[in-house]
Subunit: 569 residues, 2 copies
């Protein structure tokens, strides 16, 4: 299976191998030796949460910023907040894709380590392997040389609160960490500090079937949650990459292929509990489905990528598992035809549940990886849900639209297993790409534009991608105007990396020129910071920074993410 | 028609009459005499925006807090921010429904008046009638003795920015003002200052049919907008009270009967432009339908009731006008049966577009006001939309549910006119109440609970309402768990007012005890401030206050609203 190949690829890669070996105990202070033995039992849930990438995929709160200092234990590593803008600089001119976030580094105080030992007991480590594992990005496109100094694995909100309050006292940065499936460097620890791995907090706290909501801890994965919910006829309708945790999905404002029908994380969270920088626990709302009671703290936290607080509890809105679904594929002579059909479908007002677009290169990758023989042409994959009659009725309407745009006849996945397989193939599209170039890495773009511009954006991008020397595939959540490309490059060839970066840059600017966004669902992290000023304007960034400073005056919460360091107010 | 009667009732009421007479020019400084003449032309759009009440209905940014100081021009009137908590006090013990917001009052500086004259030219007034009109609540339940000192009518974002920057320089409060249809005292000016009437900014700036979005100024009403959109086959799916403006609907996070299908203002705004306290103009996002680019400033502003900024532009998500709709009514022996059917309908996963519940008293009021002969029993009004086949299919499913809960056969509104009339009757439910007691005023509750608790809440409330000496009706957006009562009282009988307040208090606490919210859609204003601590916890309120202080350090933006004055951080 593609998924297993990808997992073994991950596990055998040089950068991750030793995270699984448990051989090294470099840097482990004697005071923590006992904890190493106890720590073994924590590893399993942790590893299972590393299920992997990558596509819409988000992590249990996120972090990551570029830092090119040495990572030894004497040097690192945190910003003397709130002077982030003084201690950081932007390099390479206006369009540079690089930022150096230079902290005023100092060793994590021994007093903090002692406090954390009391708070966390056996649930912490300074083991080099663990620190390395938590500090390195899965997505090679964003790098930090520094890694966290301490990893803690809280098992309760109370413990999270104490950890954060202690870090705040010593002004030591924290980086929340979950499924670590993010793209944009959210979980990097450019200034070292304390990484809070939330994956042991994964309980379902209460399921309210008649309210169609569930209260969970942040470390639970969306796939695990859906397994839990299935017997109740309910599901949570966001489907980022496997391995993403609910906490991380909140932190990065995730969505996925079903967002066209059910909305993003923004629309599907009822309330949150969040530990703020001072250790206070805030409940952001009631369990009512709608409310006009005060500032929308829930939405403020969703997408804040761990820079405003650590999410410790989430109440999610659930959906009934649809009575019936129709899954169909259709291919087109040009990618513009396919995009036009997606747009026309949305304009009918039909509530499709999925409209996924793949280009011919992506279909080729899928064929290669899965031994399939799908027509290697621009393709739309649809899902229609509802009652049986309504699903079929919608299908007929869209089939007519497709035929008016040179589309092939619909090919249906008839039985449940066939439908499941088709979405599995789609979900594993990224891994299929690696089947074409097993030793390459991937740069994955994520832009979103007003619907009417999607065909134009895809056509222009495709022209650029096709004329590049790199292998590039196109995947879009077309009903939302959300467009990804996977650009494969040889990590040993600096020129290829630069070319991948150029293509990313091209597409982001094209999207921004069309009143779009630099990130539809992957978040900002460190990777998209440089585009925010063009997209939002300096006034919006200053507003964000004022909010950040008000809630986190010592700038300990995932510093160096979202807000570009040159923003002053 | 009920609507016209209500309008004449409004116009002839003693408290409003002189606003329309233009006779008095008390307090008008000589320097503004010329403006009074020119001001005539502004009155029409302004009056048309005062179309009325009241129900889910919100205003173009809102304000209102109880203040019992004299309202003469020498005394008033603004808080010396940020000392709101020092300058205000809570009275009457924990469960008191009263707050006195005492500002450190001073006359608006003449320098500011001179600056505003330069900025606004003829579009300002200090005419007593206008100030009185803008300072008095439509809903008599919330009172302020003070009224604004100056009313300005900006015609552009640039002018708004200059007005706000000037007010900030002199630390003079501002109160944004739109349709003024709100319930909870949002547009009161307890500290005097400058009222910014946004109703002259009502242009449609661009309509993007293929993106299904529209860019508008805040002063446009939702009904006007829908008239504009109809020829394009599009509509904006939120339906608060007639007269509500889009800006005010954003400011109060409004919803209405269609929210069960399309979501609230939170889900239907793509981006905003907002003038902050320092006069900076912030664009909160791109025109893409989804984005993960930084903090969700759009959602932060939605529901902030003018306390963080003045909304000057809104990009709204639109919907296709449904191909077909079925409108049906059904009555039940008990209100619990009706509520149970609403809940069971939602649990099927069917996407009804409306599920409105009315009790027998409300139906009686409707009969009286409209010369109808509807069965005076607990009633559900449904709307099913989609293709013709699908609408009918949904209807059959719900009809079966209703019959299992002792419901009558469905009565259908067959032709477009009949459907329109049925929703009109529902929309005018409040005015129908006044038909029963023409000289009374109304206290309108607005709570929302998790769906499974709705039947219990309604039953408990109904028991309390029925045993009260006051006339009370029940109306619910039942699919959302959102529940209103209209309690009629004689404003000259203090005991009746207190009884209305007691009933409100009872229902809010009952909702909060069921993990619900004190306001599903009417907002906080001054009326719901006292419940926020119980609902959200002090930590959440402190967080809101930190944000408020960071963005509005002089506390000029609609002070005395949302955040209770005793909140310190």
């Amino acid at each position: 299976m593609v998924f297993s190949s990808w997992m073994s690829r991950l596990r055998s890669s040089s950068k991750l191998r030793h995270s699984f070996s448990h051989k090294q105990t470099t840097s482990l202070p004697a005071c923590l030796a006992a904890e190493v033995v106890d720590f073994e039992h924590m590893r399993k849930p942790f590893l299972s949460s590393w299920a992997g990438p990558l596509l819409p995929l988000l992590l249990a709160s996120s972090a990551g910023a570029l830092a090119f200092q040495s990572s030894d234990n004497n040097g690192p590593s945190y910003c003397q907040a709130p002077n982030l803008d003084q201690t950081s600089k932007r390099i390479g001119g206006k369009d540079s894709t690089d930022y150096l976030v230079k902290g005023s580094y100092k060793k994590v105080p021994q007093e903090l380590i002692e406090e954390l030992k009391v708070i966390c007991k056996e649930n912490m480590t300074m083991d080099y392997d663990e620190r390395y594992f938590h500090g390195k990005p899965q997505n090679s496109f964003h790098k930090a040389v520094n890694i966290p100094d301490v990893i803690v694995f809280p098992r309760s909100e109370e413990v999270v609160s104490k950890i954060v309050a202690s870090c705040n006292k010593y002004k030591v940065p924290i980086v929340p960490y979950g499924g670590a499936t993010s793209i944009e460097g959210h979980t990097l620890s450019p200034s070292g500090g304390v990484c809070i791995d939330m994956t042991l907090m994964k309980r379902v706290k209460s399921l309210n079937v008649k309210d169609m909501d569930v209260v969970v801890e942040p470390g639970i994965g969306w796939m695990e949650l859906n397994e839990y919910l299935e017997p109740y006829g309910l599901f949570f309708p966001l489907d980022p990459g496997p391995g993403a945790t609910i906490g991380g999905m909140c932190a990065t404002r995730c969505s996925g292929s079903l967002a066209v029908r059910y909305g993003t994380m923004r629309e599907n969270v009822i309330n949150l509990k969040v530990v703020l920088a001072n250790g206070e626990v805030v409940k952001t709302g009631s369990r009512a489905r709608k409310s006009a009671a005060g500032y929308d703290l829930t939405r403020l936290m969703i997408g804040s990528e761990g820079t405003l607080g650590v999410i410790t509890e989430i109440t999610l809105r659930l959906q009934k598992i649809p009575q019936h679904s129709v899954v169909a594929m259709c291919n087109f002579p040009t990618i513009k035809d396919a995009a036009d059909v997606a747009i026309a479908t949305m304009l009918t007002g039909i509530q499709v549940s999925r409209v996924e677009l793949l280009d011919e290169v992506q279909v080729r990758a899928i064929n290669l990886a899965n031994g399939k023989n799908l027509p290697e042409a621009p393709t739309l994959m649809f899902e229609f849900i509802g009652t049986e009659a309504y699903s079929r009725e919608q299908t007929l309407i869209v089939q007519k639209i497709a035929s008016e745009h040179n589309g092939s006849d619909f090919v249906f996945a008839e039985d449940p297993e066939a439908k499941k397989e088709l979405w599995k193939i789609r979900k594993e599209a990224l891994w299929a790409c690696f089947a074409m170039e097993p030793n390459f890495e991937a740069m994955i773009t994520d832009v979103c534009v007003p619907l009417s511009r999607l065909a134009d954006l895809i056509s222009r991008s495709k022209q650029e991608l096709d004329s590049s020397s790199l292998v590039c595939t196109v995947i879009a959540h077309a009903g939302d105007g959300n467009f990804h490309t996977v650009v494969l490059f040889d990590p040993n060839q600096e020129e290829q990396r630069k070319e991948a970066e150029r293509l990313n840059h091209f597409m982001v600017h094209a999207a921004l020129d069309m009143e779009g966004t630099c990130t539809g669902e992957h978040g900002v992290g460190t990777g998209k910071m440089k585009y925010l000023e063009k997209e939002m304007g300096m006034e919006a960034l200053k507003t964000m920074k004022r909010i950040k400073a008000a809630l986190d005056p010592n700038d300990i919460m995932n510093p160096g993410k979202i807000i570009p360091p040159h923003v002053c107010f």
